[in-house]
Structures are given as structure tokens and as C-alpha cells.
Assembly symmetry: C2
Homo-oligomer: 407 residues x 2
């Protein structure tokens, strides 16, 4: 297990790069102008894993996709729209989600129970199905890189940039690619967000093993980001693994398991961080690292609390080294802490050591806080727990975007 | 118990209006110009009750005040400063808080263990004690109404208005007055906030009974407001009851108990709502009422989650009837809900009934949302629990205020 991990980041590749995947994205008319309908297809039915919002109110498409993940346990395609979340739309909404599934299956000539559905956008409006029907005809899945890009663009809402990442690794001497794309960007909070994530890989792995790996990875990636503390009704991350790389089936017992797991983790972490960085109105990525908590879980909880504090977020926006707000957030996180052992650093600069304020240079701190990435480090010295969380600053633009989202 | 409750709101009175209370507030030099040092005094040692922040990191003055409340169990004066929270200031901070107690006791010629201390302002800066020493001499406690106003002004930080409220009731045929003053206004969250509250009454009641009453009242008043989800290190509400009204000692067995309890509750609710209304940058008070939860506690939890959602808060700021964000917040509150039974109203207008969206007039809703008070009603139909929470909209000004608080 201690062998080196084989890993390459492929910056020009995307979700169609693993063998046997095609995609398309078009404008169908749910949004005014931008692309709003997308399809992702595997040549063959793929192993599948999914994680979904913990919100008690779940959008209709989640019911459909969960059936594919948990009952069919294979997936061959995802049909995705942006502009309308198809959430809180009652019986009509559920009928519409099934209709999207049916239309995509019909188009591809595959079984309906192999097609997942995802929607993102405004909550509480009945889907317009006519644009979906006509748009479906315009979707021409292909393995060209530009088709992967079309897909990534068509799933966005208030995102300002596409989110893509791809790694290649070696399993049984063969190249295996893991690639992902995601959308944010408000309503982002631990335990999934108004976030859609789609990961493709040509690795050969059973659905059950894939699900275990995805669930583990999610805790320290997608569930460790927050934009505004709102957990959405639509959050979904789906992985399709179609096995076309031809490796022996993967499990933790496989000698190259760490290669695969690391690729999946890096794809998830890259997507999670890019979602946080592109939080609504954000100008900066904030990374909080916590060390010495009583458990990794508590470390992540504290990190999330700090990175989610509106007062910390506005201070970072304003380049104000207001570490008092950081220590206050540590204190109200609910985790076990000893106020006299807390050490806090911003960038490399120590602000507090063992609970006592340390004199620091405001000028140096302003320079640190002006960067596009701000790292906050908290040491607790009450245990061995370690964890990260990522978020973004709170800005005028966040208010502006969200005060008028529907209009 | 079912008799009518005697209650008058006295809009021109304040914390010096109950018999035997005096106060003063001056500028001592912690802040640039505004008043920043205040004292509240009872002619005789008073029964006392207090509630304090649940933050694991607590400011030095809280230790001092808790000793008075829990050990002395009598209080005769509170010394309060604004501009510096004396939080995260280590051993020096604690020494400074005790020094403030000592100086106030010396000035008044009373025992040190009868003097509570409260501080509010920036976290993590060592107190300047010289202004406190010289300011102490300028404090001339008096029962004139303007002295009560001076006190209320001197405890403010980013508050835009003073917060005062006074009720009179009848106990044993005698007039009893309960009056309170508070400061907000950011870092306000259930379980106390960067909030100071001081309540005076001339009622005769033992400290233990007073503590029980205050704790009960706090759950559905001070702990039911949120501005930004940040729980501060300094939150304190203290009640002094000096007994000078001359009534028989109060307890729930007293025939006029409800009169006293209601006065205490109304004072607390008025202060809590005025803090929410004056949240940093706020333009509107948001009241959320939840009905039909499985318990009153769960109802309050849901109400707080909705009123604390940044997406709900920005939508209210933008007069956007985005009820989808309300139902999403209900869903992620962690409370027991049945999505198909949720009904949501904004103002009087029904947006969702039994989980299904209802057509509504955007024009009517914009008018409702333009008001200075916006009421959101959520019905769950899963139990009998009922509760309220109060908050405010999230605005450009919140970001502006908090991006540059220390500067």
C-alpha cells in the first residue's frame, strides 16, 4: 500500500475523455439564451454510485435518479437541465421527471431504468416540457472534447465559470481516466448543495465498491464546502464507471486500489474547491485547516463552521485580519475545544497562540488577505483530528445576485 | 390563573423607571466620539438572574458577571463598556475585567462581588484601562430619564437605534415596573449573541425564581432571533430585581405571577425583535411563525432556520417571493416534516398548500415584501408544536459594515 501513487492531471481533457463516453449540451428554451439541456452517455451500461442531498424536501428528479442508482444499479445516461430545479412541483413535477427519463431513453434506444435525471435552477415552478421535447432532438452525443464542454456549460446556473477536472492513473498496467464536471454556486453547504456533479471513468469496478468509495470521498470533499449554509433540494453527485479500460475489477484488495481512489478523491476535491471558489459573488477561495481536534469529523465540523461564518467571510472580503471572529466561530462550532490552547494562523502569520493574541503586522496581513486564496489554520491541541473545509468570501455581489434571482 | 393580565406599556419610561434604579453613560475614549462607558445601579442589592453565551470561547467579563449571578446571587451594579469586547485577551483580559469591577465598586462604595461587568466591541484587543479609570469619575448615576437614555446609548456598537422598552403591571395591588435595554446588532444568533441586555424591575422576587423565569423567557425571545448565525463570545442578559415595589415575594404560586412573567416576557420579546429589526444593514424585520411541528422546540428550530437562511434573507431584501428557498430551509432544518403537508404563506398570501405551489399575484407579493415587517407562516401538520423566530434581511450594507469593522 505504501507504493507510489501514479497520477497525472490532464488539463485539456474532460468527461468524454474516459473510453466510451459521449455528451452534448444545447439551448432548448428553459433559459433565455444560455445552454440549458445536456446529456451524458456511456456506450455500455456502467456501474453507478450516487450521493444526494440530505434535505427532507427533495426535488422530483432525485427520486428518479435514486431508483437508477439503488435499484437498477447500472446507469447508461444522465439527462440534465438547468434553469428550473423541478423542486416542490408536486405530482406534476414527478411526472415531468419521469417524462424526461422516458424521452432520453427513447432517443438513445435504451431502457428507461438506465437513465438518470438531474435539474437545477428555480424552485417551485412547473417544468416547461415542450422545450425539453424539442431540445432532446437537438442533442447529438459525441466524444469530441467540445461536446464535453457543451455539457459542462449547459448545467450551469449562476456559475461564472465551467468546472472540469481530469486525472489519469495506471491500473493493471492500463491507463484509467477519471473525469468530473460540476455546477455550483449558491445554496452550497456541507451535506450537498445546489450542486450537481458528474464523474465519468472507464475503470472496471462494481457499483457497490464504487458507492463505498464515493461516500468516503464525499465527506472530505463535496461535504466540506459551504457558500451560504443553505442545503438545496437538488444536490446530486453521480459517478458512472463503464469498465472499458479493461482492468481487473477494483476493490480495496486490488493492488492498484489507491491509484483509483486517489484519482476519484482528487477529481472530487478539485470540483468541490472550484465550486467554493466560484461561490455566488465570491472573489476569494477560503481554505480552513484544523489540526488537533478530538476527531477528523470534529476537525471538519470546526473548519466548516469557520468557513461558513458570515462575519469571517465579510472580514476576508474586506481584507480585515479579524481573527476574533475566527476564534468565536471555533467556539460556537459545538466541537470540544480548550480556549487556552487555540492557535490561529492566517496565511503563515500567527494571530493567536495558546489563546493569547500575538502582535502582527497589519500591512503583512492585508497583503495575505488580498490574495485569491486565503488559508486559515486552526490548531486545537486536544486530540489528533485533522480536516479541511473550503468556502468563499461574502460580498456585495452575493446580495445582488440573490436579491433578484427569479427576476 | 385565567384572570385577565394587567399590563401597560410605558413608552416614555426606561431602565431607571423602576423604583430605586439609577444610571449614567459617558464617552471615556475607547471609541472615537460616541459614548462608550455606562453604569447601572440599584439603591439596594438586588436579586439577580443571568443568561450567557453558549460559545465555548467566552469573554473575560462573563466570568466576573457569572460569579456575581451564581455565587453572590445578588447584584447592585453593572459596569459596561462598548468599543472593546475584552474577549480572547488571555490573563490580562481577565485582570482588566476584575479591575473594572473593582473601580466601579470603589466608586459606589459597595462590595466588589455585587458588581457585574459587560463589554462589547472588537474581539482580541487588550482593553485600554486608562480611559476606563478616568471615565469612571465622569459617571454620575441618577434616576433622571435622560440618564437611562445615556446608558442605553453608551452600550451600542454598530446599532443604529437605542433599544428600550418598559411595562408596568400590578402585583398585590402595587405598581411594578419592568424595563429593559439592549444592544445588537451583528453576530446575533439563537443561543445568545453579541448582544447585551439589561432588565431592571422593582419587583420583589428571589434570585432562584427570577433565574427560572428568565431562562424560560429567553428560549422564545432572545434565543429566537438571528442576524447572521454567528454566536458571540460576550452575550449576556442580566435582570436585577430590587424589591422596592414592596410586593409579597413572587413565585409561580403567587396569584399575580402571570402579570410579572408576562411583563418580563414582553420586555424580552420587544428587545429581541428590536435587535433583529436593527440587524446590521437590515431594512426589514422578518417574523417566521411555524405551526404543526412535532414540538414547540422543533417549531422554533424550523422558524430559526428559515429566518437565518441567507437566501431567504436576500430574497426578502430584493422583494422576491422566492418561497422555494423557504421550503428548502424547512427541509434542511433537521426537523420532522412531511413535504406533502407543508403550507407556506407570505403576508396573508398562500404560496404553497400541502406541498403544491399555488398561483399568486407577483404584484401583491411585491407590495407585501416592500413593508418594513414581513411575516412568513409555515404550517407542517405533523404535530401541535408552535413557535416564532425573528430576523432581518441581508443587504449590501451588512457586507459593507462587516468588511471593514475594525478599521
Amino acid at each position: 500500500m505504501a507504493s507510489t501513487i501514479e497520477m497525472k492531471k490532464l488539463s485539456s481533457k474532460n468527461i468524454v475523455s474516459p473510453k466510451g463516453f459521449t455528451a452534448a449540451g444545447v439551448h432548448c428554451g428553459i433559459k433565455h439564451k444560455k445552454k440549458d439541456l445536456a446529456i451524458l452517455v456511456s456506450d455500455v451500461p456502467a456501474s453507478v454510485a450516487g450521493v444526494f442531498t440530505t434535505n427532507a424536501v427533495q426535488a422530483a428528479p432525485l427520486k428518479v435518479t435514486k431508483e437508477v442508482v439503488y435499484e437498477t444499479k447500472k446507469m447508461q445516461a444522465m439527462i440534465v437541465n438547468s434553469g428550473n430545479a423541478n423542486a416542490c412541483t408536486g405530482k406534476q413535477g414527478l411526472a415531468d421527471a419521469y417524462e424526461m427519463q422516458r424521452l432520453a431513453a427513447l432517443k438513445l434506444g435504451i431502457s428507461e431504468n438506465l437513465v438518470g435525471v438531474a435539474s437545477t435552477g428555480v424552485i417551485g415552478e412547473i417544468m416547461k416540457m415542450e422545450p425539453i421535447q424539442t431540445g432532446m432532438e437537438k442533442l447529438i452525443p459525441d466524444s469530441k472534447l467540445e461536446n464535453g464542454i457543451d455539457f459542462s456549460q449547459a448545467i450551469l446556473t449562476t456559475d461564472t465559470v465551467m468546472k472540469n477536472t481530469t486525472y489519469s492513473t495506471i491500473i493493471d498496467g492500463k491507463e484509467v481516466i477519471v473525469s468530473g464536471t460540476a455546477k455550483g454556486s449558491g445554496m452550497i453547504e456541507p451535506n450537498m448543495a445546489t450542486m450537481l456533479g458528474f464523474i465519468t471513468t472507464d475503470a472496471n469496478i462494481e457499483s457497490d465498491e464504487l458507492q463505498k468509495a464515493l461516500s468516503n470521498v464525499t465527506d472530505c470533499t463535496f461535504n466540506s464546502i459551504t457558500v451560504d449554509g443553505d442545503t438545496s433540494t437538488n444536490d446530486t453527485v453521480v459517478v458512472m464507471a463503464n469498465g472499458l479500460a479493461g482492468n481487473e475489477p477494483l476493490s480495496p484488495a486490488h493492488p492498484d486500489w489507491e491509484n483509483f481512489y486517489t484519482a476519484l478523491r482528487l477529481v472530487s476535491e478539485d470540483l468541490a474547491k472550484s465550486i467554493a471558489r466560484d461561490g455566488e459573488g465570491a472573489t476569494k477561495l477560503i481554505e480552513v485547516e484544523v489540526d488537533g481536534a478530538i476527531s477528523d469529523e470534529e476537525a471538519r465540523k470546526i473548519a466548516k463552521t469557520v468557513v461558513g461564518s458570515p462575519l469571517v467571510k465579510t472580514a476576508v472580503f474586506g481584507c480585515d485580519a479579524n481573527w476574533g471572529r475566527i476564534i468565536a466561530a471555533v467556539g460556537y462550532s459545538g466541537a470540544v475545544v480548550d480556549p487556552d490552547k487555540i492557535t490561529i494562523k492566517i496565511g503563515g502569520a500567527t494571530m493567536v497562540e495558546n489563546g493569547e493574541p500575538i502582535k502582527f503586522s497589519e500591512e503583512v496581513l492585508i497583503e495575505i488577505l488580498k490574495q485569491h486564496e486565503v488559508k486559515i489554520y486552526v490548531s486545537l491541541e486536544v486530540g489528533e483530528g485533522h480536516g479541511f473545509a473550503w468556502g468563499c468570501d461574502l460580498t456585495y455581489d452575493y446580495v445582488q445576485i440573490n436579491a433578484s434571482y427569479r427576476s
